[in-house]
Amino acid sequence: MDSVNRFGPELILLAMAAVIILADIGWALAGTGAERMRRPALGALALTGTAASIIWSALLIAFDEQGEAFSGMIRVDDFALFFNFLFAGTAAIVILASIDFLRRNRFVAEYYALILASTAGMMLLASTIDLIAIFVALELTGISLYILVAFMKDGRSSEAGLKYLLLGAISSAVALYGMAYLFGITGSTSLDEIGLVVSEANGETRSALVLAMVFLIAGFGFKMAIVPFQMWVPDVYEGAPTPVTAFLSVGSKAAGFAVVMRIFLTALGDGSISSDWATVFAILAAISMSLGNITALVQGNIKRMLGYSSIAQAGTFLIGLAVVAAADPQLLLGTSAVLFFLGTYAFTNLGAFIAVIAISSKIGSDQIADYAGVAKRSPLLALGLTICLLSLTGIPPTAGFIAKVYVFNAAVQADLVWLAIVGVLNSVVAAYYYLRVVLNMYTAEPASEESIQPGYYLGLAMVVAVVGLLVIGIFPSPLLEASEAAARVFG
């Protein structure tokens, strides 16, 4: 029973996905009379699922029920639970933001079911400690997302979906290849056992280990959207339905970081290989930040801009991973910096995308130039988007500031001063393009005076995100403590 209990947060999401599909069929059978209630009811079911998952995770903590499940395939520890909250919360906000967006789409039930299934996959990515289970979780997440990206079934959305599918398949294959190498070297699929063998490895296996490591970085780098595995990002972000883009940029990216931390800290955390991957991450961090930010400067489409920005942000998270491999105290500092950053980034980026959903669907354009004078047409949306962009820039008192100080401090403590400098320089470049959107909203003449009213649910999602990032910015303690508790799993 323990296994099922610890698997509960995922289980409830999957069960709810099934309930939603069945309920939809029920509605179809019931005829058109109840049609009016269908959409809100399905949305409510989906939200209930995420809420139940969050509550279940909280109960696991309250009753000290952390531990392993399914004969060592899954480890529900503070790290996994941290991500349970992150993913379920993200899914809840995305669902809220989708209710208005899907007003004219027939396949609402499928949409919510896929979101829930994908969320369950992400949670598993954070908790599985066996290579085979990891791969299954990776595919559960990925396949749901491929369909979601293509969900609008118009030209752009289909194109994005197909691209995402093809590149996702390549990446999965690459990751699988890396796992096969690990298995070949160590003879085990369990991360703990691999870790034992790797820590005693002599020089002979080094080349093979390096190959495995790089394949894993490449495979999961796709999910994390870091350079040079980021090529798909702008096209897919632009083409996907915007709520799905938000989900990709937060949930999927966080899942990539979760699994990478799990594998690299458990299986490859000891021995000389750890300094190898730390160096690789440090260099990829610098390149991702610089390339993402500089390319974002010239983007005219706000979804593409946020895409490049998310590449740059991923680069900043990587700083934390690069810090990890140094001595023990840094291990804690680096890991918790990544976790804290992911938490703040979730609120920030979700908020930004929600504002984009609300504004773009009204003005019918994703072009930054068309955001002219939005502040006049909807002061609250403009204010919300401004706060999110300030947080992405890293200006106090938003959450983004604390996160940046925390991660740069971690880099300096670990003697990666050059990396901190690259990061700080990048935040100046980033300030420029984020601010451009803000100023366009506030100081340019609007094309029309018609006011923009976000729907009720969208407004609620926006408020949650913005209040969240301000609260974290002013009272960061709870999230910092949670990040540190989660990081201590590897300590």
């Binding site: 194109e159 590149l167 780098g221 500089i294 500092l333 401090n409 400098i421 100046v428 960061p476």
Partner: protein, 654 residues
């Protein structure tokens, strides 16, 4: 004499304006503030009440500090965040420097808020304006009171943020947007230095408490190279905020906001924050020769350069902006020669006469609808109060005895003479240039014939051209008169050197002998006033008497004129060469082109090859996806090769 100010009251100084901001925002959100009713004016009253209360409490703080001879009244820091070994504190501290700054900020802000009631009357953004003003004032008070460098940085950024909101969010104009972007990016370049300095000192000493850092620096517990880099990082931040060369370019453009905002930014908040920062860390600067020399050199260059630019500007607010930059340069120069008392004393007097100059300019603009001095003239007749008060401010700026500016400028000159004679001569040249631009401004604006003005673009009379200039309403004139009185008298408060004592009373023992201390020198005072009068005389000869024709002067000095018109080519260097040329046209465009043309080009080529493939497949631009896939493998190969380079080189036998 009151009891020593308790900590809760100190916090109240800071939280009163924040509270006013919160209440106004909440009221606006709930739709309680309709225009044209009493409720609409309520935000102004609330802001003034909050700041007035802060001012009274600041007087209490000053009283407590006087009893301590300016020494630090430390309060225990409060734990804000603790994670493992990391601990961030927040707290407040009051000492001589803080108390003087509190008085400056609250008093100038109060007068500006009062004046704004007239200037902003009928503006649809009235509530928003007062909400931002409350936040702005509160942030500046937080900056001054912070006992912890990270906390100081947070308020530092908030002050910056508010000023961009106030600069850029007013007019729907392209130039306002560009100005705000420029201000934001340029000051962020400076902040980068500040943030790096924080990370450096935190790593090296494990301290963020300002008092502790000062103590460690003064007692030689920190290595000299760390101190130098730390100080230079701080100075980069200060130079960005206080518009010091070469980061001064944003301030003249940042004049797009409402004039009262400019008054507040230039006199008491935003830009003096940089000077305050250097003063706050004076014990750190003073022990590093390199850092203190950087301060004095940059200050001197800024003072002269900005004063020369003020002579050619035609927009009255731009003249003021360059004047502010130049005066900030004076303060930095004073800090650089070790005269912290003189520097902050000058900050104190400057706050009043500069606020007065701006509010006077606002009053002129209110009457004529323009800031272009070439369209003014003859206003002395129409606006006697504005004319008289602005003249007082101008003469104070020049440093004419016995106005406020004379005392503080004189003190800087005396200290400079005692410490670094070269700086003394530079400062004296600055006095002359200052007198010329002040004279030019006064004669062009108030002398001669009225030249017509322009349609207004703010307030209730937006877009209507006034037939004849008129004196401003009493709500605007009263602050002018109060400020003029202050600009005349505040210089006397330091006549016995009492202010210097409390401004230096908080410095660590070890640094006392490094602080400059010059005694009154009569000939310096006489010479500086004479030089000032000579400058005014020259301006009179050119712009009023027309004995010397301005055109002839500029023709004779054509290369100089061109250099000044192009603002020493610094804006061109930054905007055209660095931003447009290197970053936008170079790096970003190259990366973008790679994305767009190389990849898409290959794609289109491949796509035409694939015309036979199915419709769906072609839609997906399969070539692009293939290329993206190939990039993954290239990435893998490059990373593997670089990690295993030793092994690989071994295989091929190198």
């Amino acid at each position: 004499m009151l009891n020593q100010i308790p900590e809760g009251v100190v916090w109240a100084i800071l939280f009163l304006p924040f509270g006013s901001f919160a209440v106004i925002s909440l009221a606006a959100l709930l739709g309680l503030t309709r225009t044209g009713s009493w409720e609409a004016r309520f935000s102004g009253y609330l802001t003034m009440a909050a700041i007035a209360a802060s001012f009274l409490l600041s007087l209490w703080a000053l009283d407590s500090v006087l009893q301590e001879d300016g020494a630090r009244i430390g309060y225990d820091a409060h734990e804000w965040v603790t994670v493992g070994s990391l601990r961030f504190d927040i707290g407040v501290t009051v000492d001589g420097l803080t108390a003087i700054m509190l008085i400056v900020v609250t008093s100038v802000s109060l007068l500006v808020q009062f004046y704004s009631q007239g200037y902003m009357r009928g503006d649809p953004g009235y509530n928003r304006y007062y909400a931002f003003m409350s936040l702005f004032t509160g942030s500046m008070l937080g900056l001054v009171l912070a006992s912890n460098i990270l906390q100081l940085f947070v308020f530092w950024e908030l002050v910056g943020l508010c000023s961009y909101l106030l600069i850029g969010f007013w007019f729907y104009r392209d130039s306002a947007r560009r100005a705000a972007t420029k201000a934001f990016v340029v000051t962020r370049i400076g902040d980068l230095g500040f943030l790096s300095a924080i990370l450096l000192i935190w790593t090296k000493t494990d301290q963020l408490d300002i008092g502790q850092i000062q103590h460690l620096a003064a007692t030689g517990m920190i290595g000299s190279s760390v101190i130098t880099w730390f100080a230079l990082g701080l100075f980069a931040g200060a130079a960005g905020k206080s518009a010091q060369f070469p980061l001064h370019v944003w301030l003249p453009d940042a004049m797009e906001g409402p004039t009262p905002v400019s008054a507040l930014i230039h006199a008491a908040t935003m830009v003096v924050a940089g000077v305050y920062l250097v003063a706050r860390f004076f014990p750190v600067f003073i022990v590093s020769e390199e850092a203190i020399n950087a301060v004095v050199v940059v200050g001197a260059i800024t003072a002269i350069m900005a004063a020369s630019l003020a002579i050619v500007a035609t927009d009255i607010k731009r003249v003021m902006a360059y004047s502010t930059i130049s005066q900030l340069g004076y303060m930095m120069m004073a800090l650089g020669v070790g005269a912290i008392g003189a520097a902050i004393f000058h900050l104190f007097t400057h706050a009043f006469f500069k606020a007065l100059l701006f509010l006077g300019a606002g009053s002129v603009n209110h009457a004529t609808g323009t800031f272009d001095m070439r369209k003014m003239g003859g206003l002395a007749r129409f606006m006697p109060v504005t004319f008289l008060t602005t003249t007082v401010a101008g003469l104070a700026l020049v440093g004419v005895f016995p106005l406020a500016g004379f005392w503080s400028k004189d003190e800087i000159l005396i200290e400079a003479w005692a410490e670094k004679p070269l700086i003394f001569w530079t400062a004296l040249a600055g006095v002359f240039l200052t007198a010329v631009y002040v004279g030019r401004m006064l004669f062009l604006t108030f002398g001669g014939e009225y030249k017509g003005g322009e349609a207004s673009d703010h307030g209730a009379q937006a877009n209507s051209r006034p037939a004849e200039p008129h004196e401003s309403p009493w709500v605007m004139l009263l602050p002018l008169v109060v400020l003029a009185t202050l600009a005349t008298t505040v210089g006397f408060v330091n006549i016995t050197g009492g202010m210097n004592d409390i401004l230096e009373g908080w410095l660590p023992e070890e640094t006392h002998e490094l602080v400059a201390a010059g005694d009154f020198v009569l000939w310096i005072s006489v010479v500086s006033v004479a030089v000032g009068l000579a400058g005014l005389g020259l301006a009179w000869a050119i712009y009023s008497r027309k004995a010397i024709r301005a055109e002839e002067v500029s023709a004779a000095l054509e290369p100089v004129q061109v250099l000044l018109d192009r603002k020493y080519y610094l804006d061109d260097l930054y905007e055209t060469v660095i931003v447009k040329g290197v970053i936008m046209r170079g790096a970003a465009a190259a990366l973008h082109a790679w994305d767009r043309y190389v990849i898409d080009g290959v794609v289109n080529g491949l796509a035409s090859l694939m015309r036979f493939s199915s419709e769906k497949y072609r839609l997906a631009q399969s070539g692009q996806a293939q290329l993206y896939g190939a990039a993954i493998f290239i990435g893998v190969i490059v990373i593997v090769a670089s990690v295993l380079q030793d092994e690989l080189l071994g295989i091929v036998g190198l």
